[in-house]
Each structure stands twice: as structure tokens, then as C-alpha cells.
């Protein structure tokens, strides 16, 4: 997408979405919309490391939860405003991403994946034993009654998440068009060859994990305000990890648009399923879609669209 078009659409979405909250009275849309946009951020974040660089992160929930708990801890300690909490959460998750990367990225990709799993367990145990943020008993965040400009707090959260989602996608797009992105693609295609060509693989991989981790933490920071009661079991839920992988894979991992499509599609489907089919079929949905796409449409929806458009062009 041409630069100008992209930024025009981005600005339009943010401004339109924010103003739109005043027009629409149906709060349910904002609750559901918040979750879908949150997954746009998570899927985009995962894809920077997974799709662009080729390293699978199983522990997305850990980074998300670190963001959420950083927000809780700082809110309790210093009562900072939400934007500050978001930045702090991003910094904390980014640091953890950097640390994990530094420990394991010198090894084969699969070791990185396993260590993200192990990391999730370690972090969850730490949080469970950290009584300041409630530990296993959980933590309550009371949302404010009145918010500047918006009718209620959930509309504010929705607009905030919309802004974060657009920002995340913009970052992902910037990466694909920059030197960093080309370096990451080289690593994904053949790491050994990239090394031989002089690509600074370790440095790039560390940049990738840090940005990915930071974005996941940023997605997690407003979560305590959305759900008002957070406990480790729900913050570290494997469902975040699965969705973070399934959405980019379904949408298409090689472009910044793939995770967006995957998140919007799968996220909306899940929100709809929650209030209609309403049963285990929701889980089955994720599993079957993931397997089907992975086998039949490996390039995701973006890949299918590309093939279709290429086919038409030839005609």
C-alpha cells in the first residue's frame, strides 16, 4: 500500500473510531471490539518475530501478562495515568524479550520456542508468589466512573486500543520496508546464508524479539482496566498464545496485513461464537481453522488473495 494511502486510512480509522464511540450507544460492540483490536496488536507483534524472522514464540501469554501486571503494580504503587502505564509495560516486556533472546537466540529456532514456554511457566510462578499484585488471589482494578470526552470508560478503552492497533500495524509496516525488515527476511529464509552475507543476525534477532515482546506487553497493559479482576490463571492463559499463532498463520505471515486480517476474522468469529454457539465448539473452531489453513493455504488469506489477483492479471 502506498505510504500516503496507508497513513490516510490509519488517521481516518483512529479519528473516526474515536468520534464514532459517541454516536454508537451499543456498549457490547465496544467490549467485543476491544478484544478483537487487542488481538490485532498481539498477532502483529507475534508475526514480527514469527513471520518476519522465522522464530516461533509459544509464550505470548507471558509477555501479555507481564504487561498487565506491570500496569497493576505501577497503578498500585504510583497511580500513574494509563499512557504512562502502557509505556512502562512495553519497556518491561521488551526487556524480557531481549533477555530471552539473548539467552537462546544463538541456538536453533526450536530451542527459542521451548524456552518461551519455560519462560511462561517461570513468570507465572513468580507472579503467583508476588503478593503485592495479589498473587494467586487476584487483583482488582476499579475503573473510573467519569472519563474526559467519552460516555463511559469502555469507550475510552476501545479508542485507546484502536490507536494502539493502528500504531502496531504502522510499526510492522515500517519494519517490512526498512533495512531491518530485509535483514529479518534473509534470516527467515536461510540464516546461515544470511550470516555468510554479513547480515548481523544476532543483533537483528534481538531487535525483533524486543519489539515483539514490547508490543505484546503494550497490548496487555490496559487489560486489567478492561476486565477489573485479574488473576494469574486468566492472564497467562494458553488461549492468548494459541490465538497469537493462529491469527497470523491464517491471515498470512509474510506481510503486515496478514495478522490484521487473521485477527479481525478469527477474533470476530470468536466474539460471535461466544454469544451464539456458546460451547466447546469455540475451541474446536480455532483448532480446525488453524489446521485447515496450515495444510491447505500455507500463505494464509493474503497468499490466497495474491494468487487470485495474479491469476486475474494474467487473464
Amino acid at each position: 500500500m502506498r505510504g500516503l494511502w496507508f497513513w490516510a486510512v490509519a488517521v481516518l480509522l483512529v479519528v473516526g473510531g474515536t468520534l464514532g464511540t459517541r454516536a454508537l450507544d451499543n456498549d457490547f460492540f465496544f467490549y467485543a471490539g476491544y478484544v478483537v483490536l487487542q488481538f490485532v496488536v498481539l498477532a502483529t507483534a507475534w508475526n514480527i518475530l514469527g513471520g518476519f524472522t522465522g522464530y516461533v514464540n509459544f509464550g505470548s501469554a507471558a509477555f501479555f501478562a507481564v504487561g498487565a501486571y506491570t500496569a497493576i503494580a505501577l497503578d498500585k504503587a504510583l497511580s500513574l495515568p494509563l499512557p504512562a502505564l502502557i509505556l512502562a509495560a512495553g519497556a518491561a516486556s521488551g526487556l524480557i524479550g531481549l533477555g530471552t533472546g539473548y539467552l537462546t537466540l544463538r541456538l536453533r529456532g526450536i530451542f527459542f520456542a521451548i524456552s518461551t514456554l519455560a519462560l511462561a511457566v517461570v513468570l507465572e510462578t513468580l507472579v503467583i508468589n508476588w503478593d503485592y499484585v495479589g498473587g494467586a488471589t487476584g487483583s482488582y482494578i476499579i475503573p473510573p466512573d467519569e472519563v474526559f470526552f467519552f460516555d463511559n470508560f469502555v469507550e475510552a478503552l476501545f479508542s485507546l486500543m484502536l490507536l494502539l492497533a493502528v500504531a502496531a500495524v504502522a510499526v510492522a509496516r515500517w519494519i517490512t520496508r526498512s533495512r531491518i525488515g530485509r535483514g529479518l527476511a534473509a534470516i527467515r529464509d536461510d540464516e546461515l546464508a544470511a550470516e555468510c552475507m554479513g547480515v548481523p543476525t544476532l543483533k537483528l534477532k534481538l531487535i525483533s524479539t524486543t519489539i515483539s515482546g514490547a508490543m505484546m506487553g503494550i497490548a496487555g497493559a490496559p487489560y486489567p482496566f478492561y476486565v477489573t479482576y485479574v488473576d494469574p490463571a486468566s492472564a497467562f492463559n494458553l488461549f492468548y498464545a494459541v490465538n497469537a499463532i493462529a491469527m497470523p498463520m491464517i491471515g498470512g505471515t509474510t506481510s503486515w496485513l496478514g495478522p490484521v486480517i487473521g485477527a479481525l476474522l478469527l477474533g470476530s468469529l470468536q466474539q460471535w461464537a461466544t454469544v451464539s454457539i456458546s460451547s466447546e465448539l469455540n475451541l474446536l473452531l480455532v483448532g480446525v481453522m488453524l489446521v485447515a489453513f496450515v495444510i491447505l493455504a500455507p500463505q494464509g488469506i493474503v497468499g490466497l488473495a495474491r494468487r487470485f489477483l495474479d491469476g486475474r492479471r494474467r487473464l
Binding site: 519462560l119 517461570v122 493462529a246 498463520m249 466447546e280 480455532v286 495444510i295
Partner: protein, 290 residues
Amino acid sequence: MFTADLLLNAVVAGVLLGGFYAAAAIGLTIAFGQLDVVNIAHPAFIVSGSFCAYFLNDAYGIDPILVGVLLTPVYFAVGVALYSVYYTSFERHGEESLRGLAFFFGIMFIVEVLLIMSFGVDYRLVDTAYIGESIKLGFIGLPYRLLVPFAVSLAMAGAIYLFLSRTFTGRAILAVSQDRLALRLMGADPVRVKQVAFGLALATTAVAGALLIVIGPVEPSIGRLYIGRVFAIVVLGGMTSISGTIVAALILGVVESLVGTLYGPSWAPAVAFGFLLVTLAVRPAGLFGR
């Protein structure tokens, strides 16, 4: 307060539990360590084995471990079929890693949901003649609930070890993990060999599942708690080595038990995985790897 008999009992309990962990991980050593198939659904299959054992035990009164052993041919066939799908979709094109992982992730969820839809989400237990009894050797207590799974697990590991080192197919499996081309030149079809290997890996989950439900209650999503553990054991054990897996499993069991006894059980999983992270950082080939 921390007397010798408490510590010794903690070590013994850890060893017994580690024996079970070995049964859970050994299939993954074959699938992941030797075949490079990242079967993250391995614990989900173990849980399905638990439910099969529960079902047949509840309906017909057959001993759960016996059920596990009897079901190994069924799981073997499922493993062969699953590998064939995996091979035709991914491995042939050389795009294993990311998509293969996603594939097995999806399979894991599907297995879990099918279990929930068939059995519901409640915890299931079995009760056999030997659960609840223990032998006492001096001040060391050995509950049968852990001792029998330990023994079965070691027997299974021993059988697999012999199979891999003494039979032609077994050695072909070891060979295919080292050098695919050389194997072809030796006259064996690598794909066939890998099918057998993966089938064997999945067959172990039938037994491991039965052992799991003897040790404690099981519910469909309990597999998620074991993903980290089994992968950690395989990596720690050096990926391809069966004996390495057994030793790593025992170490993990003992570490968890000792930490649980001395510092508090809360910290046990964190320490075990911290151990793994450090090992990966310092000696990534694991304890027994090449």
C-alpha cells in the same frame, strides 16, 4: 526439622515421579529428538490415553495400565496416519518448522475439545487394588500408586531402547535421524521408517496416559501443564538419547521434589524450568547430547 529421612523420602518420591515423567517424554524423544517433528500435541495424546484407560476401567473393570498396553497398536496406527498427513503437507516441501508447529498446535486443541465433548470437563480418577497401599523399607515409604507406574515406565523405556539398538527397523530409525541420504543408500525407505518411528512415539502415549491417571486425577486440558515439562526433559537429555531422557526425567522429578520439600512447592515448576533455561544457555546440547 529437615531430617535425613525427610530428605531421603523426598529424593525417592522424586525418583518415582521422574520415572513417570520419563514415560511421558520418551515418545517425544523419538518424535522430536530423532525425527525433528515438533509434536506439541504429545501431552494431549497422553491425556487421551488417560481417558481411554478411565473409560475401559470404569466400564469393564480392566486394570488401567493393562488398557494402556492393549491400546498401543491403535495409537501406533494413529501415529502412522498422522505422520503421513504431516509428511505430505509439510516435510516433503521442506517447510516444516513454523507450519508444522502450527499444525500440531491445532491438533492439540482438536484432541482436547474432542475429549471435552466426549467426557465433559470433570476430573476423572481410577481406583485399583494397589492405589492407596505402600511398601515400607525402613523409614522409606514407596506408595504403589507411584511405584507401579515407575516400574512400567522403566520396562517400556528398556523395551524401546532394545528395539532401537537391536532390531533393523530400530537402527534404521536411529540412522534416519542422523543421515537421511545414507539411509536410502542402505536400502531402507526413510519415509516408511519415520512412519514407524512416529507410530511408536504415539504408542507410548497410550501407556503414559494410563500411568498418569493411576497417579492422579485427570481432566481434558491437563496436558497443557505437561508441555513444558516433557520438552524440557527431551532437551535436557540431549534430544536423541533414550538414556539421556530417562536421566533428565529423574533429575527433574528429584529437583521438583526437593524444592517442594525444602522451600515450598510453589517454587518447584519455576526451578525446574529455570534449570532448563540455564542449561540451554550454558550447554545447549543437553546433558547427553552430541
